[in-house]
Structures are given as structure tokens and as C-alpha cells.
């Protein structure tokens, strides 16, 4: 087990390095002056430009720049953004909100996806099953910003059940609507995945054995079918936690949630290279860790997978 964990962990390192290098290369070494965004249209005096280039190591060769940046990341010193605030502080400020939003979305999609998928799978071909299947396709097809605006307009503006936008405190009750919007697409995937998995397991030999030895239907469904069907679903949910944290840009934009996604979006619009690179690096790290978590979960849930 220790060997398996450490091997998977080691495999992460080249992926993380490669992805950060890619982002760093894209932001800092393609044509265009990185200091132009700070100086604005009137431009800075040459002395200020020189000072800025020195501050962000822009005069060093690309490799040195990248290594200096990496050294910063490893010592948790992400530098300052173009307005002079430490980026680590900014991330620490907005990350809790995004994490809260992502976890709420995950809970929503897990509960509803598994319950609906279970019912659909047990009643294959019935009205409920086919309705849910078609509806899930529709949910997958409608882009998240269309869904978001629709829900914001119907629930927030027309019905007035919640505030259409989220305040700076981002309380749990305010985040319910954004979390549902954020989790809707994944909810459809969880539902379809659970249904397929249930369909496979319903026909398994051990289910017939369990029924034959006289167990109640409830026990067969919960203990034998559902538990064994959860393996692919749990792995999907693990990987999705990473996606939800990074994919919240649009949702956070619509509902004005002050999270990582909105901060990244603002930094992109302002041409604030250091902030963009740092936040994307942070998100890549989260994706990589979520994938590692999934691999470990998978091995732990399915005893057929050996740790060797």
C-alpha cells in the first residue's frame, strides 16, 4: 500500500511540473510586454519599467525565470500581483468560498444523482427511467451559463425565493442556488453512471444468490447492488471535486460569488500575469491531488485492484 501510494505520488511530479511550465511559458514568453498591463495606456517611465522587470525577473532567461517561480511556489511565496498585494493572501481569502461552493455542489449531485440513478436502474425501460434519461441528456446539453441565468431569473427574480446574487459573506443559504447550478451537469453524469452500474450489477450472480437465500428486497438492493455499484460513481465524484473547484468561473461570475474563479477571471481581464499563473498553478495542483485521491479510493474500494 505504501509503495502504491508513493509511486502514484511520484508520477504526479512530472505532470505538475510540465503543466506549470506550459502555463508559465504561455503567459510570460509569448510575444507581448508583460509590464504593459500595469502601466496602462500612458506607459511608465523607463526607470519604473526597469524596476518592474527586475521585480518579476523578466530580464532573466526563460528557464531561470521559471526556476525562480518554482522556488517561490515550493516555499509558498507566490509573489505579489500587479497591484502589489501578496497572491498567497488573495488565494487564502477567496479559496474557502470556492471550496464551500464546490462541496455543496458535490453533496447535491451525489445525493440526487445516486438516488435517481438507483430508481432508474431498478426500473429499466419504465416511464421513470426513460424520462430521467432524456432529461439528463437535456441537462448535459444546456450550457451552464444558460442554466445559470434561467435559474437566477426564475428562482431569484421572478419567484424571489433567494437573492439573485451572493453577498460578500457567502452564507450557506445564499450558496444553495449557485451550488445547484454548478452541480447540475455532474448530477446528470452521476445519474447515468449509477444507472449503468446498477444495471450491470442487478444481473450479477451474487445478487441472485442473495435473493435466493431469502434476503429482503431492501437488503439486496442496498447492501448487494448499491454498494457494489458505487465504485465507478465514487471515482467520478472524486475527480469531479477538482473540476468543480476550477470550473466555477462561469457560475461564480453569474452569481457574483467572490471565489477563486471570479478572481482568476478578473486577473485575466486585467492582464495580471503573475496572478493568472499562480491561480492556475494552484488549480492544477488541486486537479492532480483529486486524481491521486481517486486512484487511492479506487484501489481501496475495489479489492480486485492490486497495489503492486
Amino acid at each position: 500500500m505504501t509503495w502504491y501510494v508513493s509511486r502514484r505520488f511520484l508520477q504526479l511530479i512530472p505532470v505538475f511540473l510540465g503543466a506549470t511550465l506550459l502555463v508559465y511559458f504561455l503567459v510570460f514568453s509569448l510575444p507581448g510586454d508583460a509590464t504593459a498591463a500595469i502601466c496602462g495606456e500612458r506607459g511608465c517611465t523607463p526607470a519604473v519599467v526597469t524596476a518592474l522587470r527586475e521585480q518579476y525577473n523578466l530580464d532573466e532567461p526563460f528557464w531561470i525565470q521559471y526556476l525562480l517561480y518554482l522556488k517561490g511556489v515550493l516555499t509558498f511565496d507566490l509573489g505579489t500581483n500587479f497591484s502589489g498585494r501578496p497572491i498567497a493572501v488573495i488565494i487564502a481569502e477567496v479559496f474557502p468560498t470556492t471550496a464551500k461552493l464546490a462541496v455543496m455542489a458535490l453533496i447535491f449531485e451525489a445525493i440526487f444523482g445516486i438516488v435517481f440513478g438507483l430508481i432508474a436502474g431498478l426500473r429499466k425501460g419504465k416511464l421513470f427511467d426513460s424520462t430521467v434519461l432524456v432529461l439528463s441528456l437535456v441537462v448535459i446539453a444546456v450550457p451552464i451559463f444558460v442554466l445559470g441565468f434561467l435559474m437566477q431569473f426564475l428562482i431569484g427574480v421572478k419567484l424571489g425565493w433567494t437573492n439573485p446574487t451572493v453577498s460578500g459573506d457567502a452564507t450557506v443559504s445564499e450558496l444553495i442556488l449557485p451550488a445547484v447550478v454548478l452541480g447540475l451537469v455532474s448530477f446528470a453524469y452521476v445519474l447515468r453512471l449509477t444507472r449503468t452500474s446498477i444495471l450491470e450489477n442487478v444481473k450479477a450472480d451474487y445478487v441472485r444468490t442473495a435473493t435466493a437465500k431469502g434476503l429482503s428486497r431492501k437488503r439486496v438492493v442496498v447492501v448487494h447492488i448499491l454498494r457494489n455499484s458505487m465504485i465507478p460513481v465514487v471515482t467520478f465524484l472524486g475527480a469531479d471535486l477538482g473540476t468543480l473547484m476550477g470550473g466555477a468561473i462561469v457560475t461564480e461570475g453569474i452569481f457574483n460569488v467572490n471565489g477563486v474563479g471570479l478572481t482568476l477571471y478578473r486577473a485575466v481581464l486585467n492582464g495580471d500575469g503573475p496572478t493568472v499563473v499562480s491561480i492556475v498553478t494552484f488549480l492544477i495542483l488541486i486537479f492532480c491531488l483529486a486524481n491521486l485521491l481517486v486512484d487511492l479510493l479506487y484501489a481501496w474500494l475495489d479489492p480486485r485492484i492490486r497495489y503492486a
Binding site: 510540465g18 441565468f149 462561469v250
Partner: protein
């Protein structure tokens, strides 16, 4: 039949006779010798594609999505058939956020443009981005995946690691980083957007192709071709790729929808297509500020976008059912 009965009667008589026999031996003439080495070829040979087409034709999901996609293609190619308004003009601020009027069944945007005309003319850019991004991903991802799967070894190892690196950077996130670069800011159009989407979208197709090629690579007919002296490259192109195509086509159909969503998401964020290009994403972006007073300016482009994506996803779903023999058995 009478003959058989006769035989049985004879057998019965023999059995009751003084010399019972244990085995019934047929007369030598009973089974005439035929030319068993020849096979009759009735009808065309049945291939995976023919079988798939046969099951597709009866699937309502396929029929609905095919009709929808055909309709969308017609709208994209001949927008003039559906609206008399010329694109990007005849916008009167007097009509700002106006409701439906004669000749303008869907009402007006905040800029006073006819919504129907904008939705109809926006079809082209969304579809162009989706189609060409998918083509690009198919060529690049397909090639890389096929090479990695077919040759294995260090080629596979290197290509797989590069794919992992790109995989760690999700499509939208990567696109957002690239789009704000000065180079793309100065050259914002449909084609640079396609390049960006392809450069972050290829690993998925590469993974699927790699898996499919590995499955086919060890098939007997590839072995036979190789032993007949076919070079690895032409075996790959002539025998492996055509047979590994099915899962790749399914994923490509679905990702066409994904690319359309990605384009409109970027445009919606204000960093995709430039504002003067008519696209659904741009329309939704410019309508979001007047959501409360004029929701129909968001509703119609949103509906068009969702229907387009839905029809490609449904087509992909139907193709998967038809092309995957394992799923068909169920």
C-alpha cells in the same frame, strides 16, 4: 416422413426379431454428398457499419437528432431563407428591448436588433468553430493516439506523458489563459479560437484512439497483413485505423457539442469571438446586463445553443448504442 416411419417400423420389427441389433445404420444413399466447400453469397456482406446503420435507422433518438442537425446545417448555410433582416444592421435604438412586432416575431435586443436575425446568423460561427475544432482534434489527437497505441514502447510513454500534462489543464481553463495573451488579443477570430480549442482538446481523443488501436493492433487480420509483408505504417493506415474508428467517432460527435459550448462560454466571458462576429455566446454576453427587463434576448440564443448541443450529444449517444456491439446485446 413416411420413409422415416417405415424405417422405424422396420427397426421395430428387427428389434423384436430373434437377432436384436444395437445400432441403427442408415443406408449409404440417404445423405447425398454435396459440394460443401462452396458458400452461397446471398446479399451484401455484413460489416460493422452496415449493422450499425440497420439499427440506427430504427432508433428514434438518431432520427430526431439527424433531422435537427440537418435543419441546423441548412440554417447555417442559407441564413437568408429564415430571415429577411441583413446581419448586423437595421438596428434601431428606438426598438431597444422591444417585444415581438410584425416581422420581428422574437422581439429586439438591447441594441434594437432583431433577435431572430441574430440567432439565425449566429448559427454559422458556432457551427464553424465546433466542426473545425472537432476535425482538428480528430487529426492531431487521432494521429498521436494511433502512433502511441500502435508502436507502444517509448513512443507511447513520451506521448502519454505529454497528454497527461495537457490533461491536467482543463479545456476552458487553458483557453482562458491563452486567450488573454497579446498575440490572440490582436488576432481574435474564428480560426485562432479553433487553434486554441484544438491545442487543449486533443488529449481526450488521443486517449480513446490509443485504447481502440491497442485493441485492434493484436487482431489476427493485422497479423496476417504484417506477415504478408505490409509495412507497419500502411498496416496502421489501411487495417488498424479503419477498424478502430468506431469509438473515436462516438467521442468526436459528442465533443463537437462540447466545443460549441466552449466557444460560447469564452464568448460569454467576453474573451472568445470578437464582438462584431455574430455568435450565440456573444449575444448572451451582451444580453446579460438587461436580463431582468428583457429575458427573451438571452432565452432565444440560449435555446438555439442548447438545441444544437443536445442534437450532437443525442447523435453521439445513438451512435454509441449502434456501434458498440456489447451495448447492443443488452
Amino acid at each position: 416422413m413416411p420413409e422415416l416411419e417405415n424405417n422405424l417400423k422396420t427397426a421395430g420389427r428387427v428389434k423384436t426379431s430373434a437377432y436384436p441389433i444395437e445400432h441403427y445404420v442408415a443406408d449409404i444413399e440417404e445423405t447425398p454428398v454435396r459440394a460443401t466447400d462452396s458458400a452461397t453469397a446471398e446479399g451484401a456482406p455484413s460489416s460493422l457499419w452496415r449493422e450499425a446503420w440497420r439499427s440506427l435507422r430504427r432508433q428514434p433518438l438518431f432520427l430526431i437528432s439527424a433531422v435537427l442537425i440537418l435543419a441546423i446545417l441548412v440554417v447555417a448555410l442559407f441564413p437568408g431563407l429564415f430571415t429577411n433582416e441583413p446581419p448586423n444592421s437595421n438596428c434601431l435604438l428606438a426598438n431597444s428591448d422591444g417585444g415581438p412586432a410584425p416581422g420581428h416575431p422574437l422581439g429586439f435586443t438591447q441594441q434594437g436588433c432583431d433577435i431572430l436575425s441574430r440567432v439565425v446568423h449566429g448559427t454559422q460561427s458556432s457551427l464553424t468553430v465546433g466542426l473545425f475544432a472537432t476535425l482538428g482534434v480528430l487529426v492531431i489527437g487521432g494521429l498521436i493516439g494511433a502512433l502511441a497505441g500502435f508502436f507502444g514502447g517509448w513512443v507511447d510513454a513520451i506521448l502519454a506523458r505529454i497528454g497527461d500534462i495537457f490533461f491536467a489543464l482543463p479545456l476552458i481553463l487553458g483557453a482562458i489563459v491563452v486567450v488573454q495573451l497579446p498575440f490572440f488579443q490582436q488576432n481574435r477570430n474564428v480560426w485562432t479560437l479553433v487553434v486554441i480549442l484544438v491545442s487543449f482538446g486533443w488529449p481526450q481523443i488521443a486517449r480513446i484512439t490509443r485504447a481502440a488501436v491497442i485493441e485492434v493492433r493484436n487482431a489476427d487480420f493485422v497479423m496476417a497483413a504484417r506477415s504478408l509483408g505490409v509495412s507497419p505504417m500502411s498496416a496502421l493506415i489501411k487495417h488498424v485505423i479503419p477498424n478502430a474508428l468506431a469509438p473515436v467517432i462516438v467521442i468526436a460527435t459528442i465533443s463537437l457539442g462540447t466545443f460549441i459550448v466552449a466557444e460560447s462560454t469564452l464568448s460569454f466571458l467576453g474573451i472568445g469571438l470578437p464582438p462584431d462576429v455574430m455568435s450565440w455566446g456573444n449575444d448572451i454576453f451582451s444580453a446579460k446586463s438587461s436580463l431582468r427587463s428583457n429575458p427573451s434576448a438571452i432565452f432565444w440564443p440560449g435555446l438555439a445553443l442548447s438545441l444544437t448541443v443536445l442534437s450532437f450529444i443525442m447523435l453521439g449517444d445513438a451512435l454509441r448504442d449502434a456501434l458498440d456491439p456489447k451495448a447492443r446485446k443488452r
